[in-house]
């Protein structure tokens, strides 16, 4: 095991984290404005299917005259629109009709499972629709030439970049712009927001719908950058993991990205483990080390973003970060004895961690105060 192996691991983790991070951003948009979103899974699934249909049908319609990238972009746009549309239904049920937001989310999930399975059985699989292909890797000029870092961050397919940009933009927008202030106020104290003239329900509609578009992108990633075609229930719970990542990240986009990466690492380590590159204990040690380092990284990011409000001493961050790195280095250099731990058990850690965070064992996660409560003008 060496640096190259570790670099490869980070690259893979970043790829695996992409759909989860998109999903978490969808949840962030929605929940920061006060609408619970357990329908991320369904929105992603719809996005995945529509990206496939959009790209394939557009390609058929143009007779293949245009380069495949154009069809793929059309697929992405269709995914975003359909994600937005099904999110609109969620918003409509939970805002206009004040349906309990968890029930409304269940409705969306059920519909999404039904619609995608139905379409797959009645059409996609029935006529053996084949995909257009996947997005090519784009090497960012200059940056991709940096040794190691270039390989990790700047030789990806477009949606990975888009995800990183989205996370950055949302973090900035949520805490630094007028839109962000409005969104947060609507999510924390809708009555106060209403008093100063913010349209609570309109803000919520807009946020939920944009969130749906983001979830659609997460689904599209699976088709357009990974598998290349649609498979039934291909999101396999990523939407729910995204929800966990959001909460684990304490409803901030940088935090959510950090926890999405942790889930990504767990997945990537699972792959490596299956390939036999590392043994179970090494994987476990690596995951713990990475987890601690990611925590320090998120703290650094938050310190940089919210200079004044963050009270964490730099020394604490340095110690935690150092400990994490030390762990990683140890995991990479020391030869751990071969003990058989089932791969599935490694995959349990992120779920377990989420439960611990939610229970307040690892810092308190505080949801937006008004989340889950329909707003009524009094």
């Amino acid at each position: 095991m060496d640096t190259l192996f570790f670099a490869g691991l980070i690259t893979l983790a970043l790829i695996k984290a992409t759909p989860i991070a998109f999903g978490a951003m969808a949840g962030l948009m929605s929940e920061r404005s006060g609408v619970i979103n357990i329908a991320i899974e369904g929105m992603m699934l719809i996005g995945a299917m529509m990206s496939f249909l959009g790209s394939v049908l557009f390609n058929q319609w143009t007779g293949g005259a245009l380069p495949k990238e154009v069809s793929l972009i059309v697929g992405l746009v269709v995914a975003m629109l359909s994600g937005a549309l099904i999110a609109l239904l969620h918003a409509w049920l939970s805002i206009r009709y004040k349906v309990d937001q968890i029930i409304s989310g269940t409705v969306i999930n059920l519909l999404a499972f039904g619609i995608t399975n139905f379409t797959a059985n009645a059409y996609i699989d029935a006529v053996r629709l084949s995909g257009v292909g996947i997005f090519p890797h784009i090497n960012i000029p200059l940056l991709s030439d940096i040794p190691i870092l270039g390989d990790i961050f700047f030789k990806h397919q477009p949606l990975v970049y888009l995800m990183l940009i989205t996370v950055g933009v949302l973090q900035y927008a949520l805490f630094r712009t007028r839109w962000g202030l409005r969104t947060r106020s609507v999510g924390e104290h809708p009555r106060a927001a209403d008093t100063v003239g913010i349209n609570v329900n309109r803000t919520r509609y807009i946020n939920v719908v944009i969130g749906g578009a983001l979830a659609g992108m997460g689904g599209a990633f699976l088709v357009l950058e990974s598998v290349g075609r649609f498979q039934k229930l291909m999101t396999t719970g990523r939407g729910f993991i995204a929800l966990a990542a959001l909460i684990f990240g304490k409803w901030t986009s940088v935090g959510a990205l950090g926890s999405a990466l942790l889930f990504g690492f767990a997945e990537a380590l699972g792959v490596r483990l299956q390939l036999g590159d590392i043994n179970e204990l090494e994987a476990l040690a690596l995951l713990i080390g990475i987890g601690i380092s990611l925590l320090a990284l998120v703290w650094v990011a938050i310190k940089l973003i919210k200079r004044s409000q963050d009270k964490r001493p730099a020394s604490l961050i340095a110690i935690v970060g150092g400990a994490g790195l030390l762990f990683i280095v140890l995991a990479l250099t020391v030869d751990f004895p071969n003990i058989q731990i089932p791969i599935q058990f490694l995959g349990l850690l992120p779920y377990f961690a989420t439960v611990l965070v939610l229970a307040g064992f690892v810092g308190r996660a505080v949801a937006p105060a008004a989340v889950g409560k329909p707003y009524e003008r009094g």
């Binding site: 349906v99 999930n109 409803w251």
Partner: protein, 374 residues
């Protein structure tokens, strides 16, 4: 005097036509929209739905199939409803069902006992498994304020992963000499007796029916039930009334999980090939939420709604066979039914059903403690 009058009027408004009309119209509207979906897919909705009806009710085999399919819906739906009544959203019933069936199958295939011991032991084991798998999230909620929706979903995935490992290659529960991930079949002595010769109708159906009355009795005729409902209605008031709210939360989740675990156990012990495989009852958890809500989170209502969902599931196979309409259209219909029942204003608006003001705003609200804390 006044309150007596009020009570009488409330009782009356509860049994008025409106309360039955909305679910019925919701079902009809959902089916109409599904017909549209069938039409778009190029099939004849009338043919499709009549095939569905025939597959669900057309013969003795069909009726038996409907009852068998309704059984897990009924038990899991009761579990969800019981949690609802206690102010909890047990969305993780699927994981509890998994754990329940896993425990049941282990007890079932590990040793042989006389059937009067083996069968109850296997079922009770499943119930305990489900109760623990729901009780832990309940405890996390009661003690630390962790919202049960997220924790139970996480527990779903944990159960799924551990069980997939256990029945996977070289797993401890893997049946010897098999190429697919599955356990051995349970011994004859643990299987549920067949009620009707040469059919699949097993005694689990009776257990489910008994559970309807048991849950009703528990919720409305016992002190525990009273406390569960009081906590569900207003946890703060319940605390002032001297009810141990944390204990009640754990108890409610545990009973709810036990019902799901029982459903899992019955699926293992009642139906051939009497074992546990991957993809075992996947999706049942979400469908059952629709069952519980459609049944007005009342045991008797759920008995009806689970029959409907069971019939739809049973009939969908014949529909797919005859008209090539994928059975998944049923999931769409079920989602729509849930939407229309939960957003009953849509139905009331569509069909111009007037509502009495005092009983109009009785919405389910479970989303209030999202993300922990009070």
């Amino acid at each position: 005097m006044n309150s007596l009058f009020e009570r009488a009027r409330n009782t009356w408004s509860r049994v008025n036509l409106g309360s039955l009309a909305v679910p019925l119209l919701a079902i009809i509207t959902a089916m109409l929209i599904s017909s549209l979906v069938i039409l778009i897919s190029g099939a004849d909705p009338v043919k499709a739905f009549s095939a569905l009806a025939e597959g669900a009710l057309g013969s003795q085999v069909a009726v038996v199939e409907t009852l068998i399919k309704a059984t897990p819906f009924l038990l899991v739906g009761l579990g969800i409803a019981l949690a609802f009544r206690g102010g909890l959203f047990n969305i993780g019933v699927e994981g509890q069902l998994f754990v329940g069936s896993a425990v049941t199958v282990i007890i079932g295939y590990s040793f042989e006992l006389p059937f009067y011991l083996h069968l109850p032991l296997a079922l009770i084991g499943g119930m305990i498994g489900g109760a623990i798998w729901a009780g832990i999230p309940g405890w996390l909620k009661a003690r630390y304020g962790a919202h049960e929706v997220i924790t139970t979903i996480m527990f779903n995935y944990m159960a799924l992963r551990v069980i997939n490992w256990a029945i996977g290659t070289d797993g401890p529960m893997r049946a010897p000499r098999t190429t697919v991930p599955e356990t051995s079949a349970v011994f004859e002595s643990a299987r549920l007796p067949i009620l009707l010769a040469d059919s699949r109708l097993h005694a689990g159906v009776l257990i489910a029916i008994a559970a309807v009355f048991l849950v009703y009795w528990l919720l409305w005729k016992t002190k525990i039930g009273f406390e569960i409902r009081t906590v569900g209605a207003n946890p703060h008031a319940a605390r002032y009334a001297g009810i141990n709210v944390p204990f009640n939360t754990v108890l409610t989740m545990a009973i709810s999980g036990a019902l799901a675990g029982l459903a899992g156990g019955i699926q293992v012990l009642g139906l051939a090939p009497y074992n546990f495989t991957t993809g075992f009852n996947v999706g049942l958890g979400f469908d059952s939420i629709a069952v519980a809500v459609l049944g007005a989170i009342h045991p008797f209502g759920i008995a009806l709604s689970s029959l409907l969902f069971g019939a739809m599931d049973a009939g969908s196979r014949l529909m797919q066979l005859r008209t090539k309409v994928p059975a998944d259209v049923i999931t769409i219909t079920q989602g729509l039914i849930l939407a229309f029942v939960a957003a009953d204003q849509i139905i009331r608006g569509l069909y111009r059903i007037r509502v009495k003001a005092d009983h109009a705003e009785k919405k389910i609200s479970l989303s209030e403690t999202w993300g922990g804390g009070d």
